[in-house]
Symmetry: C2
């Protein structure tokens, strides 16, 4: 395979760092590497595959010669991709954007390789990486949707602070060391240590948060099915890395636990357990989506519940983005 | 009002201590007080209303003369009430049991005073206090159930470590001070600091945990309605005190957010907010059930979501028990 020249915007953030680790671990054929970040990281050196690379700032980025450019923007802030992705695409690169800005653009594929790999082919220079909490849910539900059809999803999340970037991780660490004080620059607005906060993103239509709408709309777009009823409550918990989700779902066609288990056991990217469960602390750093606690709802036909855990920086961001790049090759 | 002689079994535990505080704060007419605990607390002195009381052990408790005996058993272990409540009732006292052992006994009323106060009248010596996570959910939903009828509930909980008693609180504190080590005697089996654990109680029928079945069965018993579909996922989170719940529900009859808000605003025991939300850290020590984030599900008619937070040691245990005693007066 011929090597590719890879660009990475946001190289010094949590997702950017995870992306470099995943590129290396998955032996992505990196022939050249160009790194960008905001002005305060300019001139920093980052090692990749034993070689040092200097981080350039984004004042006037030159994407010429890049085959693929990852935008590792964190959730919450508007990504650099709004300003620079069109230029990167115009320069001939394929952009893979981890930010939220292009996800619902009809011209931009929103891809989870285990779910809708063929959508990659439709790109016109930009491919969007879904929201972390959406990715792990659709990886767990896609095999079920394919066979039984999903009618409705009710999900409640337990999301780690790393979803808010380095500032989130630092706020939790500082607050855990200080039993009383709330971190001033916390991205959460309230103390997160010893607490849970039922808000991720701003509140908008009907009182749902931005993160909740992402789970509704992105799920429908990835599944190419606007008829699925999705209701989400997204909650920040004092966990460093790894998102957990309590997922309740109903199928259109008659299904059984045994039938669903069979699908989950052979599903790509899924680690399924029927005799124990996973917690975020135990799966941090891993690439799989961990599914457990599958059980039927005895009060409603063809209704089930399950528990999904995944590392939001890996499969929820970096790993999924690199898998999209692998599809392109 | 004539004063009552009050007995308290489990006086030194978290719920026992909260009970004494609530009796005092609500000016319950305590004419006499008798305290019991397990053998290792024998001889300890506890102050109540400025006077010292000695804790007796449970080897051969004498309930003669008690009007009301609270059993402040924590969840999880079989309560002392199994051994001693019948004797206390036989001695003429009314037992109010915080443990789980008698809750589903058809001869024992299971009471939340805001919801089914009249059930108190049916007692034959023992009244059961429901599970903490059930109490706060039914207080929030009862006004809605009365007017619109509940068809289905899907709930995911975020439960604090104090629900597991003093051992739970101490495990979280020790683990937060030590970034790596898991507490040996933790009641949670795994590290809870920086983690979430989707198991409360043992797993039984169909893969649901004991706590999940409590939420199903107790809700139906308190509402006197076996037709309500209830699906629960109960999860321990690293919060010291205060349980949170993401509650999704459908009504039998057409309902609106405005109509439900009106009911919640005047509901007894409910503190409702429509422009902000509550977190467990902020409501610790309070008696109300805090309801916020009420919103309609646009994908399903007469379906809604809300967020409920309450202090599990107060309204979830001690406050509810004392309110039951007040009903008896």
């Amino acid at each position: 395979m011929t090597g590719k020249t890879v660009g990475l915007v946001g190289a010094t953030g949590l997702v950017g760092q995870a992306l470099l680790a995943v590129l290396r671990q998955r032996r992505f054929p990196v022939a050249g590497l160009r790194l960008w970040a905001s002005a305060r990281s300019r001139g920093r050196t980052i090692r990749f595959a034993g070689r040092p690379y200097t981080v350039a700032d984004l004042a006037r980025p030159d994407f010429a010669g890049c085959d693929i450019v990852f935008f590792a923007g964190t959730e919450g802030e508007q990504g650099a991709s709004v300003r620079f992705a069109p230029a990167a695409a115009a320069a001939g690169a394929v952009v893979i954007d981890n930010g939220a800005d292009f996800r619902m653009d009809p011209a931009v594929p929103l891809v989870v390789p285990e779910v809708n790999p063929c959508d990659v082919l439709r790109h016109r220079g930009i491919i969007a990486n879904p929201n972390c909490s959406t990715i792990q849910m659709v990886v767990a539900l896609a095999p079920i949707h394919r066979v039984f059809g999903l009618k409705r999803i009710v999900v409640a999340t337990y999301q780690s602070v790393s979803g808010a970037g380095r500032g989130g991780v630092e706020a939790l660490r500082a607050e855990m060391q200080n039993a009383k004080r709330t971190t001033q620059q916390s991205p959460f607005g309230r103390r997160i240590a010893g607490n849970v906060i039922p808000q991720i993103g701003g509140f908008s239509e009907l009182g749902y948060s931005g993160e909740e709408w992402k789970m509704v709309r992105e799920t429908r777009k990835i599944f190419h099915d606007e008829s699925i009823a999705v209701n989400a409550t997204t909650v920040r918990v004092p966990v460093a890395a790894g998102h957990s989700e309590s997922v309740y779902f109903e199928t259109q066609r008659p299904a059984t636990v045994r039938g669903i288990e069979k699908l989950l056991r052979r599903a790509s990217g899924v680690a399924y357990s029927n005799d124990s469960y996973h917690t975020p602390l135990e799966i941090a750093g891993k690439d799989d989506v961990f599914v457990s606690r599958l059980r039927p709802d005895p009060s409603t036909p063809d209704a089930f519940a399950l528990w999904v855990v995944a590392d939001n920086l890996r499969k929820g961001a970096a790993t999924n983005a690199v898998q999209i790049a692998e599809q392109l090759l």
